[in-house]
């Protein structure tokens, strides 16, 4: 053996990028030379590590657009181009010596234009499409005091970072005064309902003119449209105000025949819901099931069953109420054990008399704790394995990224502050840990808010209500403490750049805790993103001039939300 193989030779051999004879020579060398053989294995191992790093650490980019623009119009245009002969595109005017052909051609063109003008659908703007659809759909769904509208929709929930989507069907009923969504124990419907309620759509159907108008208004931006012969796709990419509410955009599918919105996609920062109408009908009250009517008109039918009623003896509502009680007891115990803090726990009801706790994604130690706590409890089923249909979107795992090294930071003022004697060591790490604590508690609160929106909380028995209250108050207290710590921690940073974190102490804020949980989490997420952009090797670095005012605003919003939480 004369000499060892170079890295280039090894890589080219690995990639099959050598001549046949060179491949054979190197193969023979590798068989004969231990040293090169080991080096070859190391190279393969290193390439595997590069692949893992590239796959696991996402690229430096703005998040992809949500919703994505549709492709069909572009494909149609491409098809048109492909089917038109090149000479016709290059030489649209015929040769001089075939004038008669030109005459025929022009006549044909004129005729085509006439036909097209008759057949071609009238172009309409996005606003006009929305106006016509609102007018037609309002006429279709208008109800009198003696009628009830029933809508069935299909909802597809896609979490932004999850590979899988979840589908569900939802039935909703509406009178002139109230709406009832028969979401059962389905978490997707309950979550969507909570989003509607958080935006003031308590008494709306999932897909109605009122709903469409409200979401478009919340997005707060000018709609745009793309048309096909049969339909118009209206898109609204949220303005800054809409994004503050967590809404990234709204997409609507408007059918030209009858001007009807039959599909709406709501894109939030973390999740997208596609709501497709299956049926909308107006019924007389006589055709509405009495239990649904009772839920729509609570004054005529008290719903809350006594907490002590036997599970199956009191009919549907009673059984449900007892299952709620059981779920709340279990939630309370899990909360006391600290198992509800990392967002990995999934709790669902399995009628008629069981509550399922999936603890498969908890850390091993906590999993054992949950199994010991609930293993022998009547009515509780603990699952320690991954459910077949579960997505991975629920888990909250936040990795605190490394602080940017001084050379990464372009702003010398920030470097001066972080390297100053007055700034404690590991400052960035502590700030991000504080922010993480706030997020953890608010995630837990939002999760409760989604599960028990105000109307469902109102239906709980007094015992379950008290337990829910206790959990919420505990999280609220911890949130307040964590937010105060965070505020204290970042105050010197903010002051260094000439700003102050001012709490609006004179402002009294009221509202349901559910809404505060949702808006508090949104504010905490904004603050966390800003901190990471300012202080770490972030995908979207911010200068202090941009970032500090955002930080101040984020903390103010967080403070406002935290005030609403119960003491």
């Amino acid at each position: 053996m004369t000499k060892h193989l170079s890295q280039e030779e090894l890589l080219r051999y690995l990639d099959g990028e050598l001549s046949k004879s060179a491949m054979q020579t190197i193969a023979a060398h590798l068989q004969a030379c231990w040293s090169c053989n080991v080096e070859f294995d190391r190279l393969k191992e290193h390439i595997a590590a590069i692949l893992d790093a590239e796959t696991n650490f996402t690229g430096p980019s703005a998040p992809p657009p949500r919703p994505w623009p549709r492709l069909d119009k572009r494909l149609d245009e491409a098809m048109d181009r492909a089917t038109t002969p090149l000479w016709k595109r290059l030489f649209p005017i015929p040769e001089r010596h075939v004038r008669w052909r030109m005459a025929y051609g022009l006549a044909g063109l004129a005729l085509t234009l006439v036909v097209l003008s008759v057949l071609r659908p009238e172009p309409v703007s996005a606003r006009e499409a929305l106006r016509r659809a609102a007018e037609a759909d309002t006429a279709r769904l208008t109800i009198s005091g003696r009628q009830v509208a029933r809508q069935r929709v299909r909802v597809r929930r896609t979490a932004r970072r999850a590979a899988s989507a979840r589908d569900t069907q939802l039935e909703a009923w509406q009178t002139t005064k109230a709406a009832y969504w028969n979401s059962g124990a389905d978490p997707v419907s309950a979550e969507l309902r909570a989003r509607y309620q958080a935006n003031g759509l308590d008494a709306a159907l999932p897909l109605s003119p009122q709903t469409v108008e409200s979401w478009v208004k919340i997005a707060g931006a000018e709609p745009s449209a793309s048309e096909t012969r049969e339909s118009i796709d209206v898109q609204v990419v949220s303005a800054a105000t809409g994004k503050e509410d967590g809404l990234e955009g709204v997409a609507l599918h408007v059918r030209r025949d009858g001007w009807h919105v039959d599909e709406m996609t709501l894109s939030f920062a973390d999740v997208t819901y596609r709501i497709v109408e299956e049926e909308s009908v107006v019924l007389t009250r006589a055709n509405v099931p009495p239990d649904v009517l009772a839920l729509l008109e609570p004054q005529t039918a008290p719903r809350e069953a006594p907490a002590s009623a036997p599970a199956l003896a009191t009919g549907r509502d009673g059984a449900r109420s007892n299952l709620d009680d059981l779920e709340m007891e279990i939630r309370h115990d899990l909360h006391t054990a600290g198992a509800d803090l990392d967002g990995s726990l999934e709790i669902s009801q399995s009628p008629p008399d069981e509550v399922v706790v999936n603890a498969s994604r908890l850390p091993a130690e906590m999993r054992e704790k949950v199994a010991a706590l609930l293993g022998k409890r009547s009515g509780a089923r603990v699952e320690l394995h991954e459910p077949a249909t579960a997505g991975s979107d629920g888990r909250i795992t936040r990795i605190i990224p490394p602080a940017a090294s001084p050379s990464d930071r372009s702003d010398p003022r920030l470097t001066r502050f972080l390297e100053s004697e007055n700034t404690p060591p590991n400052y960035v790490r502590f700030v991000l840990e504080n922010s993480n604590n706030v997020l953890t508690r608010l995630h837990a609160l939002r999760s409760l808010a989604m599960r028990w929106p105000p109307e469902q909380e109102a239906r709980l028995s007094s015992g379950a209500k008290a337990r829910l209250r206790a959990i919420v108050e505990n999280h609220a207290k911890a949130t307040r403490l964590a937010a105060a710590e965070l505020s204290q921690r970042i105050a010197p940073l903010v002051t260094h750049f000439g700003h102050t974190i001012s709490a609006e102490s004179a402002v009294t804020v009221e509202g349901p805790w559910q809404q505060a949980g949702v808006s508090g989490l949104a504010a905490a997420q904004r603050t966390d993103r800003t901190l990471r952009s300012l202080l770490t090797t972030s995908e979207m670095p911010l200068s202090p001039d941009e970032g500090i005012p955002m930080l101040v605003q984020g903390m103010r919003d967080l403070d406002r939300a935290v005030r609403v939480l119960p003491e």
Binding site: L43, N56, G59, P60, P65, L71, E539
Partner: protein, 191 residues
Amino acid sequence: MDMEAIATAEGLLPVDTSRLSPAVAAWRQRVAELYEAHRDGIYRFLTGHGLPPALAQERTQDVFVDLFVALQKGGRVESEQGWLYTVAARSAVDYWRRERSTLQVELDLEKGPAAQAQSGDLSPEAQTEHRERERRIAAALGRLSKEHRLCIQLRMQGLRYREIAKILGVSTSTAAEWLVSAVNSLRGESQ
């Protein structure tokens, strides 16, 4: 729901496919499926190579339209994913040439869901060490020159050296040198 139904509901296929020949309808369906599966990846690839978000969005759609046109013209596409990234890479290189910009890349070192998944084969210490190594390599990837990084990413998509060279407008031996240099430089960072 089958893929065609999903694609139609997404607006990727025309509502009425009966007006299309079976072959064209099949290509449209295939492009719709690929668009659904790869649009985010292509978009990230393009923004990662310096294209502003709006332009990256436009170019992402172009990539899929180009694929459709190629299929329609009877072009031979051996690896669809490789084809998509080849066209996207050409877009990125065109953009560099037009803008003559230097690209400073900082990778997102906040781990995504895939990175958070636990590997059952490794002890917690080994996992931490493994991730730390990955993080160092990811950071080093961000520090590579844009040409070297593109070489690595295209090789990952299965492109041959001559194909990479063609995209970058250099000789095959230069592309090979860049690739070796990039791999060696990442190796130095990871140890």
